[in-house]
């Protein structure tokens, strides 16, 4: 047992760091520094650069376009990206549906979808949750009825992240209403331009348009767009959920978040004493750092066991719970540090036609909307209550 990275890993870190420094688009950096909302092309710009380099899908097998990195190298990569504060690669194609397709898809499906997913030419969205099926995902009601070589899909999905930009969606639909909840579900890929697909925005607490309702009315989906067997979609769904949870700890991004709070706390002062020297505030940062360290080493242990050939198991629920709790505490402390200037609200800031500059220090005006927004993390991807149920059942055997 030791904590050292091998010389190869150290060299790898230097290589990726140099690449990020030279290849990351400056225009993107500027927008991030200003706290502007990112447009579709902003998300895609970095994706396309990495796709060209062959690094956009670190976990994919090489035969499908992955770089062939070890899990330690993937860890170093994600750490370096967080340190450089790069725009995150959207998970829907690379982390979610991509692995489902290369694991369960036919050769035709792999050829049709994997290259475009890698290149960024397909923007994916995830059609899982429904108004009546959140934590209880298997209760989903959207139904797909066979009509020759097509399915006719009817129903409503919700909380569909960034569906307003999506070219394709992967959907869980009910193909056998008579079967037990988990046994009558199929996994369909749906072209979002199909007649009968309607995307409606849901505006969230911070004023963002991030999630949507997706309505499906008599949408015709070719049977060839079904992944894996009919009524066996839950197998794909479970596989995908495990992948979604790995990486959800967000350790490296949270480290960066703690650094941001420190720099805010250096700037904010009462009675001329920086908040960073305030014993109460300092202690909260220290506790946060210690919790983050515990999470980091728990994640490293998980990685080591993945390297030894054991896939992400129910332990990843621990990473999700602790990771999101830490992310939320970071936003709480940031809002607290902002003081009076956490209160002004600039919804239109960065939007066209709004030239009003924010009030107060530049780090302050996003703290409240971010705090509100990040409440979602203990709700999505299986709420933290559900994650604890999973641990109770699958790990503790209760």
């Amino acid at each position: 047992m030791n904590l050292d990275f091998s010389p190869e890993d150290v060299a790898f870190r230097a290589e990726v760091r140099a690449f990020i420094a030279s290849a990351y688009p400056q225009s993107l950096r500027g927008k991030q520094d200003e706290g502007e909302e990112l447009a579709k092309e902003d998300f895609l710009a970095w994706h396309r650069i990495l796709a060209k380099k062959g690094w956009v899908a670190p976990a994919w097998p090489t035969e499908y376009g992955g770089p062939g990195w070890t899990s330690v190298q993937r860890y170093i990569w994600s750490e370096e990206c967080a340190l450089a504060d790069t725009v995150p690669i959207l998970p829907f194609g690379i982390n979610m549906v991509g692995p489902v397709i290369y694991t369960f898809g036919t050769p035709e499906q792999k050829a049709r979808f994997l290259p475009d997913t890698l290149s960024g030419d397909i923007w994916w969205c995830q059609g899982y949750s429904e108004p009546g099926a959140g934590s209880d995902l298997a209760n989903l009601k959207t139904k797909a009825e066979r009509d020759g070589d097509h399915y006719i899909v009817n129903g409503q999905k919700t909380w569909t992240t960034l569906a307003q930009h999506a070219d394709w969606g992967f959907f869980l639909v009910r193909t056998d209403p008579a079967a037990k909840p988990q046994e009558g579900i199929s996994f369909l890929l749906i072209d979002m331009k199909s007649p009968g697909v309607t995307v409606r925005p849901i505006i969230t607490l911070g004023g963002e348009h991030e999630v949507n309702e997706v309505w499906l009315e008599n949408v015709r989906v070719p049977v060839e767009n079904r992944i894996f067997h009919e009524n066996k979609g839950w197998t794909c769904a479970k596989f995908l959920l495990a992948h979604e949870r790995s990486g959800i700890a967000g350790v490296a991004r949270s480290k960066r978040g703690v650094d941001r709070i420190k720099s805010m706390a250096r700037n904010e002062a009462q009675d001329g004493i920086p908040l960073l020297r305030d014993s109460f505030f300092k202690r909260k940062i220290a506790e946060l750092e210690i919790d983050l360290l515990a999470l980091e080493f728990t994640e490293l242990r998980t990685l080591a066991s993945e390297n030894a050939g054991r896939g992400p198991g129910p332990e990843s629920s621990l990473l999700k719970v602790k990771g999101t709790e830490i992310q939320q505490r970071i936003t709480e402390l940031a809002l607290e540090a902002a003081g009076h200037y956490g209160m002004p609200y600039f919804r239109g800031f960065g939007a066209e036609g709004d030239n009003a500059l924010p009030i107060g220090p530049d780090y302050a005006h996003r703290t409240a909307p971010t705090y509100f927004n990040v409440r979602k993390t203990s709700i999505y991807g299986g709420s933290n209550e559900i994650q604890r149920n999973i641990i109770a059942k699958m790990v503790l055997g209760l």
Partner: protein, 381 residues
């Protein structure tokens, strides 16, 4: 000992509660927050003339109803339940508080104008460098003949876009953070040399950054004691905190109620989520937070007339409890509402946003914990 309200106080509560229920539903509030002005000036008139509540805490000699801090508490709690935007806190509690306790040549006529709904106040006390220290002032008022000249800048002045008058804390002598040398002024919002930059706040109010540039004030602009204004500033701020705590109890209670309703009707795994023990316990903890917040609000409100050190301790204790309660009840309400709690469409998120801003207003939990420590355990931190 008596925790009962008088008949007059019960009537006041009914009046405000009916107004909120009948005229301040969530859609109405949403329209108000999205309107150009950001408030309902006509509602302010209704409060003055039809409901008669703007005179609640003022003496009958002034044309008021003869009530006090408890009446403010009642109004603010009911306002909290409806997330009422109109500036009762800034005008009646704060503006009125300064005029009642500080006096001054204009006090009598201004109190009359407040009760009539004609004068609207905003409290310009915070400065960017001062954080929560009320005495940390770079805004100055220099003697100029019989009057003063005011210069400086105030941060995040809530309700300023609607105000006819501002209460401004300024340094008339001493160094930046001295306890002595602080004076309070009443400044007409449209005085020459006052410029505002208005903006919305995250909780649906409006506020401004205010610049004072060579603003000429008469001698009658002084409220309270020249150079000795800090005790008055602390007293009225404590009264404002007590009233804010009362608002918070209304906000929290509504979040708790709406969470119970949601949990009873929302079904997952074939059962209402209210039947899951882990959520039941969380809702019980919310309940305990609400009840403790109400207790602390009563306690602080009843001690507002105590000697300064006792009053400050009581108010800081209440603000600590309420700040923690706002966070716990707010976060729990959103969590139990799940994705729906994250939407702009549901009221609960708007209550959460107000609760979150209340946490920081007039001092965070840490700030008041430290003030309490200093007063209660001796040595000021």
């Amino acid at each position: 000992m008596d925790f009962n309200f008088s008949d007059e106080q019960n009537m006041l509560r009914d009046t405000v509660a009916k107004f909120v229920q009948n005229q301040y539903d969530f859609d109405t509030r949403r329209k108000i927050t999205r309107s150009d002005s950001g408030w309902r000036a006509d509602y302010w008139k209704v409060m003055a003339e039809e409901l008669g509540i703007l005179g609640a805490p003022f003496a009958e000699d002034h044309g008021g109803l003869g009530g006090g801090a408890i009446d403010n508490m009642i109004v603010m709690e009911e306002f909290g339940k409806g997330l009422v935007i109109e500036p009762y806190l800034g005008t009646v509690v704060i503006g009125g508080g300064f005029l009642k306790h500080g006096g001054g040549q204009q006090a009598e006529s201004l109190i009359g104008s407040i009760i009539a709904g004609e004068a609207v106040f905003a409290f310009a006390y915070a400065e960017p460098q001062g954080r929560y220290n009320l005495a940390d002032l770079t805004t100055t008022a220099k003697k100029d003949g019989a009057g003063f000249v005011l210069n400086g800048r105030k941060a995040v002045v809530v309700g300023a876009p609607w105000a006819t008058h501002l209460v401004v804390s300024a340094r008339t002598s001493g160094a930046q953070r001295d306890a002595g040398g602080v004076t309070l002024f009443v400044v007409p919002a449209d005085a020459a040399g006052v410029t505002r930059r208005d903006y919305p706040t995250v909780d649906g109010l409006r506020a401004s950054e205010i610049q004072f540039d060579q603003v000429k004030l008469g001698a009658d602009a002084v409220i309270g004691e020249l150079d000795g204004g800090l005790p008055l500033l602390e007293r009225v701020t404590d009264e404002a905190i007590a009233a804010l705590c009362a608002e918070a109890t209304g906000v929290m209670r509504r979040m708790h109620e709406t969470t119970l309703d949601y949990a009873r009707q929302r079904k997952q795994f074939g059962a209402p989520i209210a039947s899951f023990q882990v959520l039941q316990h969380r809702m019980v903890d919310m309940f305990m937070n609400v009840e403790q917040a109400v207790s602390m609000t009563y306690m602080a409100t009843l001690k507002l007339g105590d000697p300064a050190a006792e009053r400050m301790k009581a108010v800081s204790a209440a603000k600590v409890q309420i700040g923690k309660g706002c966070k716990f009840v707010g976060q729990s309400a959103i969590q139990i509402h799940g994705g729906m709690g994250m939407t702009d469409e549901l009221a609960v998120g708007h209550y959460f946003k107000r609760a979150t801003m209340i946490e920081g207003l007039f001092g965070s939990v840490d700030h008041h914990l430290r003030r309490y420590e200093g007063l209660s355990l001796g040595e000021a931190a």
